[in-house]
């Protein structure tokens, strides 16, 4: 663990944060100088759709969603954002999506130009950025495959596996969902009702159990994985 000092507060990062991976104390120090810590409570926008996009955010803790809402009210969630994720790499004029917190959310905020300039100087940072971009692309392609090819129940299973891999603290026997059924639906391109029914069906089939509304356990991981498979 390395201590990172920011103008606002001190925070520690492990090597699990892709942005800071393998960076020396000295490099981290330079990085932290151009960072600013922002703290959000539930259901606040980090930034909204169409806002000028000159910032870049690194999630420190908490969970959020990246969403697009169209004029006619349809909403698509592009991704859930978790600690370590980097937001705002696209260098467009305006964000084509908004990012909202689902829980308390802590992020490092950078001016994009600053971070990109720094990436030119610090090779490790540059490499990490490429790595992250690559991961985002891979993840988005998986999402495209899910939306284009999978049935409702396959999508739900896929999401469970994804939560297992990405949601901090999630284990097969206890997944605490930070998102609502509507969020899940808008991520999977389904309706709330279909998501709810699918959960009920998986419960009836003995593959999962739902203790509280927001707590799911996977009883038969192998079956869920099979249903979720995109290989």
């Amino acid at each position: 663990m390395v201590q990172l000092s920011s103008p606002y507060k001190s925070i520690s990062f492990g090597d699990d944060c892709l942005l800071f991976k393998q960076m020396s104390k000295c490099e981290l120090d330079r990085l932290s100088k151009s960072a600013r810590l922002r703290v959000l409570t539930k259901q606040q926008y980090l930034f909204t759709q169409h806002a000028p996009s000159d910032r870049l955010y690194n999630i420190v803790s908490g969970v959020g969603i990246m969403e697009k809402v169209s004029e006619n009210g349809r909403r698509q969630i592009f991704t859930f954002v978790y600690p370590g994720d980097l937001i705002g790499l696209s260098n467009t004029e305006k964000y084509s999506y908004g990012v909202k917190s689902l829980s308390n959310l802590t992020v490092y905020e950078f001016k994009r130009q600053n971070l990109l300039a720094l990436a030119e100087e610090l090779p490790t940072l540059g490499a990490n950025l490429r790595e992250i971009r690559s991961d985002v692309t891979t993840h988005t392609f998986e999402h495209v495959y899910l939306l284009g090819q999978l049935k409702a129940y396959e999508r739900v299973c896929f999401m469970l596996i994804q939560l297992l891999n990405r949601l901090p603290g999630a284990k097969p026997d206890k997944i605490d969902l930070p998102m609502t059924r509507t969020d899940i639906a808008d991520y999977l391109g389904l309706t709330v009702e279909t998501v709810s029914r699918t959960f009920s069906q998986l419960k009836r089939d003995g593959l999962i159990s739902i203790t509280s509304n927001n707590t799911i356990s996977i009883l038969n991981l192998e079956s869920i994985e099979d249903l979720a498979s995109t290989a």
Copy 2:
């Protein structure tokens, strides 16, 4: 126009090619030294899914598809690739998709490490690469929205507008489709039958006309745009 010499052949690029935009003759010369020209005929793979991914391709001419085929035979087309597009930026070990030509296809092939190294030295190239990545992300998010939120007929209209914007030579009164109905279906997350029926319906409604199987004219651009709108 600038003449680019390669070990194999000489080709000219305009500023419309994002990768070469705004680069000096000298820079272009260095670039071309690490490029190799590859020429494919119809229905050939530039590379297949799971092939080791150490190359990067810049489309010179022709059209192709980037596709993923799963073990159970479902196919999703991630994108159609057009002149100027860059393929293989993700730095994964293996390609998670294959790229196949639909027409004759000419590409510049780079070793990824070479091009990335060069991008460190040539700031314009680095900026162009970031620009391209950004465009790809934007485009992929649009695709996610399409698959998650749009009805079949909206998807088809969206694709027509996209062809208009991206397919070289496409004009509202004459779009020559290089892809089959099945390709369109697999891109839009629909079946061939649904795509065919949707075309027929748009024809009946007087919005398009189909002269030959592969030639479509848009008769009422405004309506098509309205139906395709994702704003």
